[in-house]
Symmetry: C3
Subunit: 494 residues, 3 copies
């Protein structure tokens, strides 16, 4: 494996230029403006201030900050892989969004032979991008930018097809994307990392650690995600009270998981101190856990409880399940996405199903049939006319009962997990192809492989030899190892 | 004092779980949605786009950025206390907001046996949280997370009661919160730090300094606060031209104080250089100084002058008053909140009173009685009908004259200062209770006490012994001290 | 030159206080509220929610983040000049905005003897500020804060006059500001740096490099700019579909230039690695390139192509043109603004002209005469009545043909370049005046000159002497030089 070149000089440009030419060709052939962006669709009746941009764009910028700054900083937590975390996130996100505009456009916004483009497409594409970035977390530091791009190239269509099938045929309630985004991303990522298993990293890696500054940077990423998560969870709800509830529940859920994470972090640490990794990740669990029921009338108290439950599951997952998966199941889940997105996502699905089963007109009023639109009566049902009086814009539904809807949710969970895990495993095999510049074991988690780095990038370790003798033997070993590498790596890997 | 354990393993989880159980119980018993978030309140007349969320949520996210990223980065300025500044801010803010939702909810949003929750409550709770975080500035680095949580637990109710009394009985104009937020927070914090006086830190502390990176991080925090401060000051004004003015005045005031801060920083430095602490703090003075009159017709020029005045007072406070308070009054005000929030808040109150005294119908037109709503006529006043023609939505007032309103403002200032100082002193005594993990003097301003820190956290100092002999003796002493500590602290404090 | 003092103790306060007194006097004499901020203009017909603040303020905060955090972090990329980049950006931006409020106010918002102030003025002033900050990029690290303030003092009026002339007499389409902002800023900055040429820096400067953390910080700046650029480019378009297109095109253009930048960065690097400077700068090229045609019906595909073209020109400029300009034309363009704003701006102008020539009613419908308002018929034209039926709010135009409009665009490009270059050269001569604290060559790119710096600010280099012998000779030379300087500079420059 070590013989394969990791030089990007030809591979990366070839991949990017080929895909960009294809993107441009598809744009020319198929992409036009939607009715809110096309000058021809504006008439003397159009009020420019009613353009969809004014309700979509603020949400869009919030999610942009989450994707580029939130994920970017959060993934920059490795001491020698800050460039990798932040910059590969930038590259992968940009690529995934453009690709998702085209692929999702074909499935969701295609009519009259054209994909119709507006800011709403960008929001959808950013969700697809979030899926890719979550999966990225499973293989952070162990993949080349080329592998990440290939992963995005394959994951986006699998996601778009799954999304399309689930929304068109199963028709589920999942406003915050717990099923479609978090579970999909998690099991796809686990599938990829399962195939990319590196036995050489079984005992950990010498550079798999953080620095004082990288930890602070990563907390900033957490805070960007924390602050704007209500926008993420409420982006695709119905407008009005539904969106209002989604914002409240997300905020409460995040707060509950934050307080719980601090409690558990101190409790589970043998020195009774706080661990930065917990604060960077586990605090966010509540945002996922409230996802599937985020727009429903679950009550603020239940949102609080969901935040606490999700956080507890996530924390125990980091402590006990992740090591188990790595040791026994050959699943090296670098950022613990199975804890932050998988376990919490499953709890969220269960909560969503309970909320669906308990939903009735007493609590929701007639707008029950708007939120659970598939429970609205079918054409010809006498109840339809009566409801149309109370809810003027009511759409025709499928006449489902609560139980039926719950079963479809269950079906969605299993089919999403199945499709994503399968897609992830197949993608993993593609990523093992030669010529994708996969990093050798000893240069994982190391920016020197793919970046020109400044002189100080590993300075603190270089000067380590005047550290006191109090240092742990592991640290001393690490230091010597890295100094050896410094002397050799440039010639070997350049 | 040194004998007391600072291990958080039991204390922090016990405190957090107990309070969380109480929070959840209160949520279940008392919290429901307000009419903008409750599905049952939506009728066929409801336009979802008129939901309060669309005017409240953008302001809310701006303030969220200020609270979590602005304060978080700003407080991370200590070289060895970056985790503490940013992470304890995260913990304390989250806790304070949840607690404030309940306590303020009881005083302001409680009817029919329920607290009615919407995003507007969250905005109010973030103001209460800002109060706690400002007070936190006075004791930064000298308190355990447990002490900070207890402080929030006590400060939020005292603040909520003061706010409720002042707004219900004194009925003042204070759109930017100069009285209720800044003065309250300042004198509460000073009360706490007065009681927590540490004679051992009289000569300063060896770790009470910054690093190159922590200073830059802190400036980023300043910039987050600077950029979004207009949203903070205008969040609770009347909509329309009032909010417009609040934004203009805040922006102008901040700009004036920024330019003045640079001038004074160079002028008061003996080498004629700029000092980062000035840029981090004093530039923000204008945002506080315009607060009490921020929505009034004070003219842009006066906003400019207020920014300059506030900045000058703040700068002189840092230079001369803070050292005096520390030496003579046993008030160790770590971040100088008395300069940035106290002195500027007092100037703001005076400016607000002048603006109230000079307000008349010639300048404001009939909307005088909207902005100064307590000057609107009482029921039965013949002027009322006439005004109702000009201002359709006019509320009944108290028929106060300008002079009367000014007197109530003065009363509010004194009662706020009194209550907050008293509350702060009592809180200080509670924080001195044993079992709250108060840090020993020598481990103040040091992340090693409450966090697992990476190997490089104090690396630059460790390698200090090959520094040149040009270093100041103070610096050399510091270096030796820290090296000694490195050898011992882990065994002592783990 | 070395003999001149760089002590700011008197110079900076004198300059700032004098200008502030002038600002305040002008504010008192000439500045009042506009009709959206003045209480007297509100009648019983006014709907407060229709106040201009609600469409202007969200755009304003986005641009604020770009100016203060985006530019601030981006310019902090030098290893020893992080304070300078971020803090001088803060100072210069604040000063430029206040000055622009007054100067632009006189040209654009002056009637009845008063400048009428609203948030829309602030947005315009932030554009003027962006111009100054771009020009700042050409001389980063080689100018004192005083020189930067003088530059802003001179550049803002030259810009305001140019803007006023071009908009009033030439009447061009330039929604994203490619001509007025980017070309102006670029050639002004080049003019300044041409005059400030330093032969001593011909071979580069020993401190002209980055550190691991400064590079990450700078990428954060890039991401802030990237995320909010659509707001910048769409701030001054017509509302509705025009603004919607501007957002779409900017996002697509930026994405295309980002992907292209990664491809070219790896391709043009001899080791096949990525270069951080490319990722910090070249990724942004697309935002400029789509500028001049950003609101037109150019199709998403063309926006993509423009992003790729702009990026390619920018990258080749960095690689080949900038070194040539520095060596042969005495133009030391520190941040390469000629590549990111000049070359891309020129491409944008050409694209804009093509888009104007191809615009017809078939593509735009009757709103053609809104977007290209100067092509609308003149008073008396029979077509006018017909159009007024289709577009109720149509303004009278100048009856220009597409070709005529294109010629005016060409005229605008040349006159903007001419005026800005001339203004820049003259400004450069002013900046050479003594007493402006110009840094000596050896203390360029060094925070120690104008800031109190903490002990660790150049720590990694200080300890460099235990680096391995693998280091390049250049690096070794650098280290020795800096250690020598450390021993001497404090005494020399304090």
């Amino acid at each position: 494996m070590k013989k394969r070149s990791t030089n990007l000089r030809i591979k990366l440009p070839v991949f990017l230029f080929v895909t960009q030419v294809i993107f441009v060709a598809l744009y020319f052939a198929f992409v036009t403006y939607d009715e809110h962006a096309d000058a021809r669709f504006q008439t003397n009746q159009t009020n420019p201030m009613h353009n969809a941009i004014y309700k979509d764009y603020p949400i869009f910028t919030d999610i942009q900050v989450m994707i580029f700054l939130g994920f970017g900083c959060l993934l920059a937590f490795f001491r020698f892989y800050g460039y990798g975390g932040m910059v590969f996130n930038f590259l992968t996100a940009t690529f995934a969004i453009q690709w998702a505009i085209l692929v999702q456009g074909y499935f969701q916004f295609y009519h009259n032979g054209k994909i119709h483009l507006g800011v709403i497409n960008l929001i959808n594409a950013e969700f697809a991008c979030a899926v890719v970035l979550i999966s990225f977390g499973a293989v952070l530091g162990k993949t080349s930018p080329l592998q990440l791009l290939v992963m995005a190239l394959l994951e986006v269509p699998v996601f778009a097809v799954t999304e399309w099938m689930v929304l068109k045929y199963l028709r589920i309630n999942d406003a915050g994307g717990s099923i479609l985004i978090h579970l999909f991303a998690c099991y796809f990522g686990l599938g990829v990392t399962f195939v990319l298993y590196r036995s050489g990293l079984k005992e950990g890696h010498i550079k798999e650690n953080t620095s004082y500054h990288s930890d602070i940077l990563s907390v900033m990423g957490t805070l960007f995600l924390w602050v704007f998560w209500p926008s993420f969870n409420s982006a695709l709800t119905l407008k009005g009270d539904d969106q209002h509830r989604a914002i409240l529940h997300t905020f409460i859920g995040l707060s509950a998981s934050t307080l719980t994470a601090f409690a558990l972090s101190a409790m589970l640490n043998k020195n009774g101190k706080l661990t930065m990794a917990d604060i960077q990740n586990v605090t966010l669990a509540g945002g996922v856990t409230v996802g599937a029921s985020v727009d429903m009338m679950i009550s603020p108290a239940v949102a609080y409880v969901l935040g606490m439950l999700g956080c507890t599951a996530c924390m125990l997952g980091y402590k006990y399940l992740s090591p188990f998966l790595a040791r026994r199941c050959r699943i090296q889940d670098q950022c613990g996405i199975h804890n932050l997105h998988g376990l919490t996502g499953l709890i969220s699905c269960v909560a969503g199903i309970c909320a669906i089963l308990m939903a009735d007109e007493e609590v929701y009023g007639p707008s029950l049939y708007e939120i659970f639109s598939h429970r609205a009566p079918v054409e010809g049902d006498p109840k339809l006319l009566e409801l149309k009086m109370l809810v003027p814009g009511l759409q025709l539904g499928l006449g489902r009962t609560a139980q039926e809807q719950a079963l479809f949710q269950v079906a969605a969970v299993f089919s999403t997990i199945g499709l994503s895990a399968l897609g992830g495993i197949l993608t993993g095999y593609v990523l093992k192809l030669p010529y994708l510049a996969s990093p050798p074991d000893d240069l994982c988690f190391d920016d020197v492989l793919f970046f020109e780095v400044p002189a100080d990038y590993n300075a603190p370790l270089k000067h380590g030899n005047n550290m006191t003798s109090e240092d742990s033997p592991a640290l001393q070993h690490q230091r010597v190892f890295i100094q050896l590498m410094d002397n050799n790596e440039e010639s070997k890997w350049a």
